[in-house]
Symmetry: C2
Subunit: 689 residues, 2 copies
């Protein structure tokens, strides 16, 4: 019976791929007539390719090293048993990375293809431009979710071993770490350097083509926001399915449970396909409403389809449907509270804008404060939904309670195809706006592009809240997966099993405190990385302005590729220590203090990671929109002291919201997966465990 | 046998009181000759009295309400048993507040007495001025620790019930919340308003007497830093002794264990007395070294005395001595790592100063990053010391493991008398520096006062790290106290006992997530409170400058008392919602989800509280010292762009390090004590527990 759902999963994935192909061709048939836009689009595409090539090269070396390590050590050291598990896990690891890389690569291709066309479309009006931007993003959304479902089903079909899926998931996480954190450093160092030299030193517009960093900045939008975000959500989605399947496989009714996982995932993808196909700007021409209503439509379709499946398929439980629905609805609520803190029609953004009139210190203090406040509703939401799903599913039998939480995560991520489409829409229309300016398409076109862009910023807040919430639930279920993996290893070693992680146990508490410090350290390393890299680029820009004659006057071309090169090289260089730090501390804690300490470590990591991720994403969004609110003529408007203060807030918020904040998700997943993969080793070899 | 140690505790407390009296008289016999200094000293003293009077009035109302609540509900609702426990707890609660209030009140008296004398002393040279500042602070240190030891011994002698001590400790915490958070809002709103109007708008010096907020600013140093810090450490110290005694009373060898608690506490006070008596500025005239070396001397004396006691007294265990020593040494190490991040001779401060040259956004980003980095060593230190003490003491018998952690906290806090002396020295010499400027004592005197002030800032970092570390260990042992209280209540109600708080239990996890969000919300409320209150004061200053003729020219006196009034009223008004929020959420979580959720709630609170407290204290200290480093002529010196950026960093850091950061300690303790006091209620009445 499981095979039916695997087959259906392949089928829906293929439908998603075909629909993505259709949308790709639809976008491509729009033509770019403006020569300047065509030229710059090409530069952006080339720049993105440069980064991707570099990133994938570095990643290949990293993957090879991990591949060998897995072959030797994970899940069992070769000298302790058969090697087949290690070989399968190692190949699954590679496969996970390849699937994610593929989705990212194609997504960037489409995004860089759509931006110019979207700008041209804006000449004809809002409707066309919106659809080009949205459908370009949707290609990414469909591919990411399709690859996820296809890959997970494929690995399970071939190996029939949920443990191997941890390898697949770890592959996805490795890539997400490179794509999200590396892309985040890339995009923000380019952005900051472009702002510092362009707006501040030279007094030229944001997208002025004389600035050598301007193309790097546009490339950054694509590699950080499109590819990075796609890899991040691919990772979360795979991790949610993996942990649900690992837990499901140890249940008494394991077949039905595993069927449910695939059924919910494939119906979620189907719902996203329908939601994407239905998206249009209505008569009122409000793109924000169009994006949001397609999210609600997708949610409704998903709930109806899964209810039908629960009704018709034998062994499917209503309690699990309710858990999943709870997860999805809480995801929406978290998104809406995020929106409350970052939307400029709501009081918080206006208060921060008003505080800016007293100086930059007040911009920072008030933004930081509201960022902290914004953590409570989201964390309480995650807490309540995990409690509800647990209570709903506990009566179903042993192990079902944690499975309920895993299914809440699957539910929250079910509409991820839609979420990614909305999210990838943002950087496409952002780029389109820049291109419209650089190509001189006229004020009306720029105004339309602006409107599209502002809608992108608004829905971004919602989707970010969503993805952090989903990551929260996923890692809770990964904790369950870690425990079942550890107990399997302990049982094999003839040692007493772990019954839980008691906070009063000092080994657990030790892990908890150390684990809580890691996301803070990780974020700090990324932010400092952005700082350093931006400084390097500023030096390069100064060099170009002083050595290229006629550049300032616009008679000569800047060497864009130099800046792209610096951004790419530096991003990867700054990323590696942060990535290694998280993996090494996990292994250190495990080998020193054993599985109990790792349990605490994972929880400390989740709790402080969620807190910091929410804080940084929301404070960053808040500062960004406060600045925009002032720029639209409030508190003295552009050029006022309040505006200068708000620009400082925005610059602080940039690496918060686009580098560190969203990378913490990935960091948590990486740590959880490393712990699960190494659980057998920790169970056998630990100093004080 | 316990009575011997109680008697000795009274004896050593009285010695401390007498020594404090001697130091007070010694400080008082120095005369203030400068009329201006005398006049301003008096204004500061009056201002501090105004705040203290207001605060104590509000506190009295609050205390009365809590007194009645305790009488009716805690530890057992009156309708469920005898009322005697409630009566004792209620009176112990009042006593705890009175003792803390007394220590704070006298401390302020001495501090406001010492500042003018210290300024005058600086005319004669470093040695005298140092001793006046240090001994003024020492009066506070001796009184706080003496009151703590005396009070705890008294309550135990009278009631012979460690449970009643929770009431005493809660009394101390309530006061600390008012004193620390209220004082923190007071001092920073005055500071920020004075800076904004004086330095920024009018371009007059920091301590210019024309500024109506300048006296409020000086008052703030006393009410926030002296009284607030004293109340905070009184609270931590009482909480550490209380939790150790509550746990000790449930052990098999309870008498010896309780004896140890008193023995260690009284020897710590004795060691502090000796260390204070020995403190002198050496021939090299380095006040930082003098302060640090007296800390080391006290540490050594304490370790030797407790080793001797362990050797001679029957039933004292070396394992516990080692735990206690571990706590103390880890405390020192945490202090030193804090120093590394905030001392301007070390690289971090210089890097942040250098980053400021690129603009304020980089000041904020780099300071935030290093603040995050600084959390790891301290959290790992707390984690390691709790793990070591647990492992050391677990072999002694059931319950001893947690007792070991409690004794590590007692050890870390043993030299708190010395710590407070060093810490109170800071605001005294800071005030003295201001007075020297206002009194026109000449450049050489100001230079000496500056040197004393800078030493105060340096050791402040160490003592802050120390007090956060101690709070961390104390709340871990309070968690143990909460569990034993809950189990006593559960046993009485005939319900199954709690064996621990398993993170995999969703009720615990629910509490964990919600608890982790509370310190963030609490800090945000305090920071926003400072913001709002500073805005009110800025308005008042503007009013005075526009309505008092001749004020700007120095021909008229500003109305200092108006600003003091605004600071005091506003501080208490802003504090109340934050304080109530922490108490109400604790009760809500307990009554909704029961004792297991509260266990998670406390741990979430500790973990995120420690993280945020360390981050804010260290980032704030870092920005403060970066600004000073630039002011001493680096990165362009005063007036440069780097300096302007550093001033923004410092303004952001002020409420971080002096309002929110140190108040989080108290918030954690309040939450832990409320939970312990209400444990019987949670055990009987909870919706889903």
């Amino acid at each position: 019976m499981l095979n039916i759902f695997l087959t259906l999963s392949f089928l829906v994935s293929v439908i998603a791929f075909l629909f993505a192909l259709y949308l790709y061709l639809w976008v491509r048939k729009h033509k770019v007539e403006n020569k300047e836009i065509e030229r710059i689009s090409l530069l952006i595409k080339k720049g993105a390719d440069t980064f991707i090539k570099r990133e994938y090269k570095l990643l290949a070396a990293f993957e090879l090293a991990v591949f060998i390590l897995i072959l030797i050590f994970f899940p069992q050291p070769v000298w302790k048993g058969s090697i087949s598990g290690n070989v399968l896990t190692a190949f699954a690891y590679i496969l996970g990375s390849i699937f994610s890389a593929l989705a990212g690569k194609i997504g960037i291709l489409v995004a860089t293809l759509s931006n110019g066309r979207c700008a041209e479309g804006a000449k004809k009006g809002l409707k066309d431009a919106f659809l080009i931007g949205f459908r370009g993003g949707a290609v990414m959304g469909l591919l990411v979710v399709g690859c996820c479902l296809f890959g997970v089903a494929l690995v399970l079909l071939l190996t029939n071993d949920t443990g191997v899926l941890l390898g697949f998931s770890f592959g996805a996480s490795s890539l997400a770490l490179f794509a999200k954190a590396g892309g985040g450093i890339f995009t923000k160092s380019a952005d900051v350097a472009a702002d510092l030299t362009g707006k501040v030193e030279l007094g030229i517009a944001e997208d002025d083509p004389r600035n050598p960093a301007v193309i790097a900045d546009n490339v950054g939008d694509n590699v950080g926001d499109v590819a990075g975000m796609g890899a991040d959500l691919f990772d979360s989605n795979v991790a949610a399915m993996t942990s649900a399947l690992v837990i499901a496989s140890s249940l008494s009714g394991s077949v039905a449970a595993m069927e449910m996982v695939f059924c919910y995932a494939l119906l979620g993808l189907l719902a996203s396909i329908l939601g994407i196909a239905a998206a249009r700007v209505g008569k009122d021409g409000n793109p924000t409403r169009a994006l949001n209503s397609s999210t609600y439509v997708t949610t409704a379709i998903f709930l109806i389809l899964t209810a039908a499946a629960t009704y018709f398929v034998e062994g499917f439980s209503w309690n699990i449907w309710l858990s999943s629905a709870t997860g999805l609805i809480v995801g929406l609520i978290i998104g809406l509270t995020t929106d409350y803190f970052t939307d400029d029609t709501k009081p918080v953004v206006r208060k921060v804008a008003h505080a800016s009139a007293s100086g930059a210190a007040f911009t920072i203090l008030s933004g930081t404060s509201y960022g902290f406040v914004s953590c409570l509703p989201a964390m309480a939401g995650i807490a309540v939904s995990s409690l509800i799903s647990y209570q709903l599913c506990a009566p179903l039998g042993e192990g079902y309670a944690i499975f309920g939480i895993a299914m809440a995560a699957v539910g929250m991520l079910s509409i991820v195809g839609m979420i990614i489409s909305n999210d990838a829409y943002g950087p496409i229309v952002d780029n389109a706006r820049g291109l419209a300016e650089m190509g001189g398409l006229g004020e009306e076109t720029i105004r339309i592009a602006d409107e599209l862009d502002s809608a992108g910023n608004t829905v971004k807040a919602v989707t970010k809240g969503f993805s952090i919430g989903a990551a929260g639930l996923t890692v809770i279920s990964l904790l369950g997966a870690f425990m079942s993996e550890t107990n399997a290893a302990l049982a094999e070693a003839g040692k007493p099993l772990i019954t839980g992680f008691d906070i009063m146990n000092p080994t657990v508490f030790f892990g908890l405190l150390v684990g809580a410090a890691i996301p803070a350290l990780f974020s700090a390393m990324l932010i400092l990385g952005v700082d350093k890299n931006a400084q390097r680029m500023v030096e390069e820009i100064h060099r170009q302005f002083s050595t290229i004659p006629g550049l300032k006057e616009g008679n000569a071309q800047p060497e864009y590729s130099q800046c792209i090169d610096i951004a790419a090289k530096g991003a990867l260089k700054e990323l590696i220590p942060a990535g290694l730090m998280t993996i090494i501390t996990t292994l250190l804690v495990g080998f020193i203090a054993g599985p109990l300490a790792i349990g605490g470590f994972l929880v400390g990591n989740i709790v402080s990671g969620l807190l910091l991720a929410l804080f940084m994403s929301n404070a960053g969004g808040l500062w960004d929109n406060s600045k925009k609110y002032i720029e639209s003529g409030n508190e003295g408007g552009k050029g006022s002291d309040a505006h200068k203060a708000a620009v400082i807030g925005d610059t602080v918020g940039d690496p918060y919201k686009d580098t560190a904040g969203p990378s913490i998700n990935t960091q948590i997943t990486v740590v959880s997966l490393v712990a699960s993969l190494a659980s057998a080793l920790f169970a056998s070899f630990s100093l004080f465990g």
